[in-house]
């Protein structure tokens, strides 16, 4: 039986950040995940919170923190230090993120020709945080025949002022479809394949050259170039630098349908960082059961081909996601089950799981279902919170925390960051030295 100081269940943003933070502090961490986490779908921005008309993410965090049900009521104060840590970490890992809590919002155009309000973005989306200058144009460029990105359709949507929802916007939006070299012959072209092409310096030089000429042909004057989010996978920083240099303009990567290349980049560097810190990450591990005595989790078993694999743990972090992520399951009888420990969940009655226009983000009150915790993020019974934590050495992070309407509040990443920060700090403070010296402790490396 292998052992670890902490097992983190789930490999999304919250799980990986908790694991890295714990490993930075010297804990032996194993991440167990049923599949690849939601970062593989992510388009780049780190959402801390947004409300129409809000001046900054800090203001929204403050508003949400005053709502007793929202995780920020517990975590609000940790958003700033967690974000600071995340931005330093991401920079160290070669993926610097621009923006700040107090710096206000920008509008990031997307591959369906809409906009997404953003406050923290990877470098390749940083220009969206700057207001557009008078006369400045946006040129949307992409490969002709790449079915996930239609530059002219994107441009014609973004050319409508109402799409920008009151944000600063370009004077004019133009779309150009380009033939990037050698792609016409390729079948099954997806974002990942194009991103790998951009990692190749020779192909990249040729593609950027053709793109630069196509952009220049649309007219003169100040311009920003919007491209699908495919600017390299492993060598992204260099690809971006080359693009900016070749175009002589700011460059914006537009998020696409999954797979999300910006999210995969972040996943890959966090995974590599965790491994470099001695952590282990196992994908394809469905939790079979958890062993606990007297409110303390002692081991976690994952399903295997024949017999469960049991890992002895000093603490457990649940980063399994909410209803959308699979950490919670809604039964037809209206019960909401937490899948790993069977924790009592807080959520609306079945009559109010869904209501109204299904395309309205507010039509899914069930999204706010989750686990209630104490200040240390230990799970409590939502009906009897005063009775204290249900498990001494369990922490709940990310979208499994109750009270988030993440599609409405747009606070999902902020909760992930702050809860990772808080969970790591609280586990650090209570680390049980016994688990560190137990027999077999040297086994997990």
């Amino acid at each position: 039986m292998p052992s670890a100081d902490v097992a983190v269940i789930g490999a999304g943003l919250a799980g990986l950040l908790t694991a890295v933070r714990l490993a930075e502090n010297g804990a032996r961490v194993v991440v167990l995940s049923e599949g690849n986490g939601a970062l593989h779908w992510a388009g780049g921005p780190i959402d801390l919170g947004f409300r129409p008309g809000a001046r900054s993410a800090a203001a929204v965090v403050g508003q949400l923190a005053r709502r007793r049900a929202h995780p920020y009521a517990v975590l609000g104060a940790d958003v700033a230090p967690a974000l600071d840590w995340f931005q330093r970490l991401a920079t160290d890992l070669g993926l610097p993120h621009a923006g700040s809590l107090s710096g206000g919002f920008g509008a990031l155009p997307t591959a369906i020709g809409g906009i997404r309000p953003v406050s923290i973005v990877p470098e390749a989306q940083a220009p969206t945080l700057q207001p557009w200058a008078p006369g400045e144009r946006l040129v949307i460029a992409g490969h002709a025949g790449y079915k996930d990105f239609w530059p002219r359709a994107v441009a014609s949507s973004l050319a409508r002022p109402e799409v920008w929802g009151g944000f600063s916007r370009p004077d004019q939006v133009v779309g150009v479809a380009i033939d990037w070299p050698g792609l016409r012959e390729r079948r099954n072209l997806n974002a990942l394949r194009i991103a790998e092409h951009f990692d190749d310096p020779d192909w990249r030089a040729a593609a950027l050259d053709i793109t630069a000429r196509a952009v220049a042909s649309t007219g003169s004057g100040p311009v920003r170039v919007g491209l699908p989010a495919v600017l390299g996978l492993r060598d992204h920083a260099r690809v971006l630098e080359d693009a900016i240099q070749r175009f002589g303009t700011p460059v914006i990567e537009l998020p696409l349908v999954p797979p999300g290349i910006p999210g995969i980049r972040l996943h890959d560097v966090l995974r590599a960082k965790l491994r470099a810190l001695g952590g282990r990450i196992l994908i394809g591990e469905r939790i079979a059961r958890v062993e606990a005595t007297n409110g303390t989790v002692t081991a976690v078993a994952t399903e295997a081909a024949t017999r469960d694999l049991t890992t002895r743990v000093g603490a457990l972090v649940l980063a399994t996601g909410g209803i959308a992520g699979g950490g919670l399951v809604g039964d037809p009888d209206g019960a909401i089950r937490e899948v790993v420990l069977g924790l009592p969940a807080d959520g609306p009655p079945i009559q109010r799981w869904l209501h109204g226009d299904p395309l309205d983000p507010a039509s899914l009150p069930i999204a706010a279902a989750g686990i209630r915790t104490d200040d240390a993020l230990r799970p409590v019974d939502p009906l009897r919170p005063a009775e204290g934590p249900l498990f001494e050495n369990v922490r709940v992070v990310g979208s499994l925390l109750a009270g988030q309407q993440w599609m409405v509040d747009r606070s999902g990443d902020g909760v992930a960051l702050a809860s990772a920060w808080r969970a790591a700090a609280s586990l650090e403070a209570t680390a049980a030295p016994a688990t560190r010296s137990s027999r077999g402790a040297e086994a997990v490396r």
């Binding site: 039986m1 292998p2 049923e34 599949g35 690849n36 986490g37 939601a38 593989h40 779908w41 390729r186 079948r187 099954n188 997806n190 990942l192 790998e196 349908v257 999954p258 797979p259 995969i264 491994r275 282990r280 196992l282 994908i283 394809g284 591990e285 469905r286 994952t302 399903e303 295997a304 081909a305 024949t306 017999r307 694999l309 890992t311 699979g326 027999r439 077999g440 040297e442 086994a443 997990v444 490396r445």
Partner: protein, 443 residues
């Protein structure tokens, strides 16, 4: 087909119906090593969950009774079967298994291609080749012969084929008085003092040093080794869509091994792909759900999994001598399908001086017999390219891996030996015994 039989079939049908859970999220396409290198393969999502709607539209919704179920095209044949799609799927869809069954359906009712049939006959090739080891090895290493093999059969001339090791493990084991019989034919030590060894074809005919190392390590820890009659686990046939042949191999193995399993003996194997086949694929791929098959599955252990469990129980002799070595380790795809973590890495950590590094690469490319095929060899080499490059760059003298075909692929591509983890454990025990002469090499 009666309603009851449909219900009964559906109860076992955890593979085909799992596609219901597919969200079309593309994560499987993104992790697929073959789609990464070959456009002719549209990716696991397209040939798996998406093509499944055509297969489900067939008159019999699931291919349990051997009837062919139609795929929209033949591209599923480019799948190497590495299983990464199933591992990475966040929704629990058994994509690789769906694809494998689709390939078998495509092949059902047709005579198999001679090449595919031949490379699946690992038993036969071993039995006929071993007595003629010098000649066979000369043939396998002879360039014109290999060129001819490629031309006539379609086995790539550069594909890594193993060399025969002379007399089989079984005949040598017999000569030194090893227990080879079935239950009832031989005197047996109690089940807590002995294990059944599933050596597979590789250790029997090509890599007897692996079998020797396994036996040394098991005996060191107080287990007598029994090697009952066994044939190929059937995996090469499953991979090539030859289910009926695989089933007959499986039935024979199950019949013999179940006798031991029911008496409480554990079945330990050094080939991580054979042990996974005994554990999971007899049920998932070949629909063997009877009590005997279940007993064999429950009793089967990969050797590193078994040794780590001994360690957990405090029963593993940890008196390992020093081996000063940098050791890149590749975890084979089949090991990941076991879901047992990285037991070899945990065991390596017990050997003083051994600096093992998990290479964290998806697939070496070979995928059993995939990389042997003329039309698939290039894919296999490109899938493993990054692994080979990093091993080269590491400057390490040798590498470790739990699966034989991966070892042959990695050794051939990096031009340095690749060994089974248990060989290092055996060497570390030997180093401890040869006090004062620990020279830090593993052989």
């Amino acid at each position: 087909m009666t309603i009851a039989s449909v219900v009964e079939a559906a109860l076992h049908e955890t593979v085909g119906l799992s596609t219901d859970e597919c969200l079309k999220c593309n994560i499987c396409n993104e992790v697929c090593p073959v789609a990464r290198v070959d456009d002719r393969f549209p990716g696991p999502k397209y040939v798996g969950p998406q093509a499944q709607r055509f297969r489900l539209a067939a008159p019999v919704p699931i291919n349990l009774d051997g009837r062919p179920v139609h795929s929209p095209d033949r591209t599923v044949d480019w799948c190497s079967g590495c299983g990464w799609c199933t591992t990475a799927c966040p929704a629990g869809v058994k994509i690789a298994e769906v694809n494998n069954r689709a390939r078998a359906s495509m092949r059902a009712g047709h005579r198999p291609r001679l090449r595919d049939w031949l490379i699946s006959q690992t038993d036969l090739l071993g039995r006929f080749g071993a007595p003629f080891t010098p000649l066979a090895n000369w043939t396998l290493q002879n360039r014109p012969v290999r060129w001819l093999l490629e031309l006539v059969l379609g086995i790539h001339r550069k594909a890594p084929l193993p060399l025969y090791a002379g007399r089989s493990f079984r005949s040598r084991f017999k000569r030194r008085g090893g227990v080879l019989g079935r239950v009832g034919e031989v005197d047996l030590p109690p089940p807590d003092r002995a294990v059944v060894y599933f050596h597979g074809c590789a250790a029997n005919y090509y890599e007897q040093h692996v079998a020797d190392a396994a036996i040394a390590v098991l005996e060191r820890n107080g287990f007598q080794v029994i090697a009952p009659p066994q044939n190929c686990c059937g995996l090469p046939m499953i991979s090539n869509g030859l289910y009926p042949a695989a089933r007959s191999k499986a039935r024979h193995n199950v019949e013999v091994l179940a006798e031991y399993a029911r008496l409480g003996y554990r079945i330990v194997g050094t080939s991580t792909s054979c042990t996974h086949t005994l554990k999971a694929e007899y049920a998932e791929m070949l629909d063997l759900h009877d009590e005997d098959a279940r007993a064999v599955s429950a009793a089967t252990w990969d050797i590193c999994e078994f040794l780590l469990e001994l360690h957990e129980e405090g029963r593993l002799d940890t008196g390992f001598g020093r081996i000063d070595l940098d050791l890149p380790y590749h975890a084979p795809c089949q090991l990941r399908s076991h879901g047992i973590g990285l037991p070899a890495m945990d065991l390596f950590a017990l050997i003083p001086g051994l600096r093992a590094v998990d290479m964290d690469h998806d697939c070496c490319g070979i995928a059993g017999t995939y990389g042997l095929k003329k039309e698939k060899y290039d894919n296999a080499m490109r899938v493993g390219e990054d692994l080979f490059r990093r091993i080269d760059a590491s400057g390490a003298a040798e590498t470790a891996c739990d699966s034989e075909t991966c070892r042959w692929q990695i050794a051939s591509a990096t031009d340095r030996p690749s060994r089974h983890p248990v060989e290092y454990l055996a060497a570390a025990y030997a180093a401890a015994d040869a006090t004062g002469t620990a020279d830090g090499t593993a052989h």
